[in-house]
Subunit: 542 residues, 2 copies
Amino acid sequence: MQSTMMQYPLTLVHVLERAGRYFRNSQIVSRMPDRSLHRCTYADFYRRSRQLASALTKAGLRRGDRVATLMWNHYAHLEAYFGVPVAGGVVHTLNLRLYPEDIAYIANDAADRFLIVDDILLPLLEKFSDGVQFEKVFVVPLTGQPVAAPYHDYEALLAAESGEFAYPEMDENEPAAMCYTSGTTGRPPGVVYSHRSIVLHSMATLVGDSFGIKSTDVLLPVVPMFHVLSWGLPHAAVMVGSKFVMPGPHLDAESLVELCETERVTFATGVPTVWMSVLQLLEQCPNKRNLVPGMRVGIGGSAAPESMIRAFDKFGVTVIHAWGMTETSPIATVSTLKPHLRTLPEDERYAIRARAGYALPWVDMRVVDDEGAVVASDGHAMGEIQVRGPFVTGSYHNKEVDPAKFTADGWLRTGDVATIDSEGYIKICDRTKDLIKSGGEWISSVDLENAIMAHPAVAEASVIAVPHQKWAERPMAFVVLKPQMEVSAKEIEEFIAPRFAKWWLPDEYVFVEAIPRTSTGKFLKRSLREMAAKRKMETAAE
Amino acid sequence: MQSTMMQYPLTLVHVLERAGRYFRNSQIVSRMPDRSLHRCTYADFYRRSRQLASALTKAGLRRGDRVATLMWNHYAHLEAYFGVPVAGGVVHTLNLRLYPEDIAYIANDAADRFLIVDDILLPLLEKFSDGVQFEKVFVVPLTGQPVAAPYHDYEALLAAESGEFAYPEMDENEPAAMCYTSGTTGRPPGVVYSHRSIVLHSMATLVGDSFGIKSTDVLLPVVPMFHVLSWGLPHAAVMVGSKFVMPGPHLDAESLVELCETERVTFATGVPTVWMSVLQLLEQCPNKRNLVPGMRVGIGGSAAPESMIRAFDKFGVTVIHAWGMTETSPIATVSTLKPHLRTLPEDERYAIRARAGYALPWVDMRVVDDEGAVVASDGHAMGEIQVRGPFVTGSYHNKEVDPAKFTADGWLRTGDVATIDSEGYIKICDRTKDLIKSGGEWISSVDLENAIMAHPAVAEASVIAVPHQKWAERPMAFVVLKPQMEVSAKEIEEFIAPRFAKWWLPDEYVFVEAIPRTSTGKFLKRSLREMAAKRKMETAAE
């Protein structure tokens, strides 16, 4: 027996056409380099995305060709998100925070054929342009300055097109977009998203128990669009017609809060460090700000400390914790409270909200120990998170499938270590490589960091493993204090001691001005390890 | 270039496993024939669905075999919804409101191999059992009476299984469920849903701008589970873990309102006639009922009059208008207000909410005139709605593709006539066969019905075309008055006249006790046409 259902591909063509049909009045707001606000509608977005598709096709774009972007979050980047894939191309978002030579490596590995670049990023492009061979470079004149040869003017490119465009027939499994992981060691590998994976991911984030995005929402993706498709927020927004507000290059707390206030943002996303700085700003003048009551902030990329979730609640802002990675499109879990957990005492509710949540529809998840056995769902046993699903990568671009990354039965090994409770909520304990193994037992650096960051004088904390003759490894904490605050190592230890077994407590606290970060805002533990090693050598030399 | 994403099928296996993993505490409530409430949890549902899958497999179920159900809405029907497809079978829901010989025809056309039947429906089964050949019949002992040979006891069947079950490997395009259309003429054809179509449809209804179902919702499907998969509500509920309340055979207004009150229902579904009777009950004792504030009711199957939407608002109940058909899984449009329409004057907002809405994600829709041209989106031009998408049928079971049902370019011809406004909201004017063509112009029977039903003395109205020598066809109205109410034809005409061109007004008003209905609660216009013809003959004979 056969199903009688139509064979209809899940592609971005449908999403773009839907937007052009139903959401022509929805607003798109972009912060420009000069801080002014650029405003347009979905009708403009629809027309210009199709103009871009048409222009790229005339420029010779073939099926599957990569079109790189080197851009901040703004209307033209959104056009590239759709205009490239509906023409049969693959939009490849280059991470402008990487070292120029790394960007060049990635552009070459992906064999990017065309590039669309913000005019204000031309100085960055010129740092690595010797190492790459883009056939054509289109410059978005954000500043209004004329575009000089050999570059092509993005606006002129679009202006030459009527907006009429006949989409090529497409299979839903064809590639649509590409991102490289932000690995902190070695050359990052590329992940290639399909039309199907992008569309399914956006639907999974739309449902009420994940991000619950609706047409009435006003979205602010602070996550860069060059970072894992901005968590799929652009696709989710366009699917339902939400007002879409983009911060451009202005990611400081004051600019973000101002944008939230004036554009009436209801849902924003970002990594904890960005929102920590927003929180500090709110705390400086608690009565002066005018955020939309009930505003939600999706936080991921690294763990949001419980103290931060509590602090935002005081400002009427609900933090929704999420977890994922480039390989999972990226949202794989979201921490919303199931109905029967909403009546728990406040502390228990916060403890659950500080976990990473449970899996989105279509994501299969298991937590597996060193021997490959699924760990007990008791909230204590630690293991590696493994996932599979229609928006989880099964390989890397141009690479053999590596057994260190994928299990024999086809699951992605995420490299993140977690516990899982009886309700299925995971709690990220660490990256496998950041776990501290002391005397044969695991210590979670993330748990220690969150406990230390709950101290009112502490702005940031990062804990790493340092080699130890007897215990193999021991924890060392790096601490950044808030301005004008003072606290001793002993005071911090007394503060966190009640929460941990004694052997979990760090052997040393190092007070620093700042903790170095990766290009995506995560703590750069590699660099801390180097600092620790240097410290040890200096101590030995004394 | 290839996408690196995993090939992961969208099947009901994932949905069931997700429920068993994350929603074990969610509640399932079923009204039994004796009016008592049967309570169980998703943990029970998960275990029993797998027991059913295991038992059917041992009973010899092969891939694609049809397992028919003849059941009301309750826990065991929900088990069949999942237990059959995850075992590789196809659940075929028989409509118990059809004539017995029609049920037999449908069971034979589908080649149903097994049957699961409520014990209270055995008298119905016995009316057509001579005409069918089920290999085994499993009886659900809802009343607690023992099950006698030749029937098998459903509970004994499940009790023999441990609940361990190894799912067969499945492709997402394999068939999972089957329904026959409720056509009022000729033998109804069958539609076969796939795992993919069911899962995608449930996701499309979950999003906030359609039904917006969440884990915190308490759902009451008044739509029978033998009618187009109960609009996909069972699948949507299980996907997110909503409490699920089923009315069993008790569909009278008092039973439904009581269930809404005691189980704290937040979202219910049904056809207008059911909710009209609920409304009348609420109006009888406006201060005595205790519905959840903000309760939503999804209404479809036929048009919900604007007057009904307004009346429910007074009780804090939001009617969400939807449109679809067996061929579209069934929800294809939902009428929720886009953000910029929420500030319109009240009358305009109600007018939009009374339309059928705009298309769900993944549904392509166009309105096409007699010549095949897309009509203007002006809210006036009428045409046939045509749709396509991953949960729209492209054919009928065991039938050649009929050009009267499908266009040459692959769209379903729905047979529903609508206008479409500039925002993309459609307004159903009629079935193509119910439209009245008077003097070469179309008159919408639905518009006339809604206008007449807005009169405070009118309970129901149905308008049909009667043959006319000069104008080809003219409208005739059948009217049911509310109890103890009186109104003349002239008064109704004066009431509706301001809304229509004069030539739209019915030539005659016939007051009747009741309007005959189809098995799904729609007005049976065929029967009214027979009444009209008989009337004419009688008049001629006088």
